[in-house]
């Protein structure tokens, strides 16, 4: 798109798929974090075809900003349609930023069982980590100014794109 400084999400997805291909076996569990991460996980699942169904996690009940910001308006149900215990898992998110969502996701995951391993895939890593968390699979690394946010969007045909949002002062 002319004038759009952000990379094409579909190209990032292709890059991510190729990075992950050697790491995803038939029993690997792909777990997307609502909402953008679920879209990415679905696409990864279609491309990498593990036998294990794709899972979705909503971390609203595990967030550390609940006391400050309240409950998210539109909480979704977490659905993990496989046994977590002893399995190799890959958490999938759209944008990796402070790492707090991933911390919440890890806590929630361990309420389901003790996985053999957990790795992290993100379509975009925008830096700004506040916790010791790193992704093993990354579509692209971007540098953004504070106050700038990127959001993943999905159109009616299922095509993914990135959108830049300036935070209101």
């Amino acid at each position: 798109m002319p004038g759009n400084p952000l990379p094409d999400a579909e190209q990032l997805l292709t890059a991510l798929i190729e990075q992950m291909r050697p790491a995803v076996g038939p029993d690997t569990g792909l777990i997307g974090i609502h909402t953008g991460g679920v879209w990415v996980a679905e696409r990864l699942h279609q491309a990498l075809k593990p036998k294990t169904p794709a899972a979705a996690l909503d971390v609203s009940y595990y967030r550390d900003d609940y006391a400050a910001r309240g409950l998210h308006r539109d909480v979704k149900r977490s659905e993990i349609p496989f046994e977590v215990e002893g399995r190799d898992l890959i958490l999938v998110d759209d944008v990796l930023y402070t790492g707090r969502t991933i911390r919440a996701a890890l806590n929630e995951l361990f309420d389901y069982g003790r996985p053999a391993s957990v790795r992290l895939a993100a379509l975009v890593d925008r830096g700004g980590r506040q916790l010791p968390i790193a992704a093993q699979f990354i579509g692209a690394t971007l540098t953004l100014r504070p106050g700038q946010n990127i959001a993943l969007k999905r159109d009616a045909k299922g095509r993914l794109s990135l959108e830049l949002r300036e935070e209101a002062k």
């Binding site: 009940y61 309240g70 409950l71 977490s78 929630e108 309420d111």
Partner: protein, 317 residues
């Protein structure tokens, strides 16, 4: 003034701060509670850490088993600490005033009060009095309101019927003494149910009940015709003064839900009852235990609905 000027349940931003009645609660908040409750139904993980470190005080000035227990389970599944106080048998009998009781409990660092009281309006009174960071949930006050029961009934109806916009709902029995009926009527109207019927003898219907927008029937057979949902109410012997009814047997004959009366409703109609049931008074055992009964799912959904109310409220400042 930190509360909403026109609705003492809402904060200045219009968010739920106390849950006192379903009357006047915006549809958006009702839907948010029902949607959030759905995330707690049938999940593999029963307990989430959301309310860790919060103290929920169940303060019951009137006896209750089911409601108190489901509130306790709901709070514990959100990781809150729960303190149960049965005030009927403690301070009040020693002469302590309602506000003194509440002040003392607040001094024990309560974050949330779940209040049941025999007097209508008692939870409102407490909500107006507590510190701004404390939340109050009405768990039933007199004949006035029982909002979480109304909400769990709405959850149950939505679960089985998907949508309110084409429903015919009948509420049967002792409407006069029923805080459940009032909560159901307000919630159904807000959620867009087009036809609400109340069925009962004249002596057990409030005067001018039509003004709530309901259709009144005294003949149960007429009233049940083609309804999608039948919600039965308990005959509240403990609240009756004087001769409102000739006898429980006669009530059963005219207003008890039996298989042959239920056959007048739609074939896929569901039967609700808030409990505790008087079998053979307002409902026949074969109906209570029958295939159209959703009375036990109501109890299960009640926990999820109470979890939803607590998680939404406790996050609103």
């Amino acid at each position: 003034m930190w509360l909403h000027p026109s609705n003492p349940q809402l904060d200045k931003k219009g968010q739920l701060h106390h849950l006192l009645t379903l009357e006047g609660l915006p549809a958006e908040i009702l839907w948010q509670i029902l949607d959030t409750a759905k995330t707690f139904v049938g999940t593999k993980v029963k307990k989430v850490p959301l309310l860790r470190g919060k103290s929920v005080f169940n303060v019951f000035f009137e006896p209750s088993t089911r409601t108190r227990t489901t509130f306790e389970i709901a709070a514990k599944r959100l990781s809150a600490d729960v303190i149960n106080l049965n005030v009927t048998v403690s301070s009040q009998s020693k002469g302590e005033s309602l506000l003194d009781t509440v002040d003392n409990l607040s001094a024990m660092h309560a974050d949330m009060f779940v209040v049941r009281h025999g007097e209508s309006g008692a939870p409102h009174f407490i909500a107006r009095h507590v510190a701004p960071d404390i939340h109050v949930i009405n768990a039933g006050d007199g004949r006035h309101s029982h909002p979480t029961q109304g909400l769990l009934d709405m959850y149950t109806i939505r679960h089985y019927k998907k949508d309110f916009s084409n429903l015919r709902v009948a509420i049967v029995g002792d409407i006069l003494h029923s805080r459940v009926a009032r909560s159901q009527i307000h919630a159904l109207a807000t959620l867009g149910c087009p036809e609400i019927r109340v069925i009962g003898p004249k002596t057990l219907l409030p005067a001018h009940v039509e003004q709530l927008g309901v259709h009144v029937f005294h003949d149960m057979r007429q009233g049940l015709k083609d309804v999608d949902v039948v919600t039965m109410l308990r005959l509240q012997n403990e609240r009756m003064q004087g001769a409102l009814l000739p006898s429980a047997q006669e009530f059963y004959k005219y207003y008890g839900l039996t298989q042959d009366k239920l056959a007048l409703a739609k074939p896929d109609a569901i039967v609700l009852h808030p409990g505790p049931m008087n079998r053979g008074v307002e409902i026949d055992s074969s109906v209570a235990d029958g295939r159209q009964s959703v009375i036990l799912p109501q109890v299960t959904f009640g926990i999820a609905v109470r979890m939803a109310v607590m998680s939404i409220m406790a996050g609103n400042k």
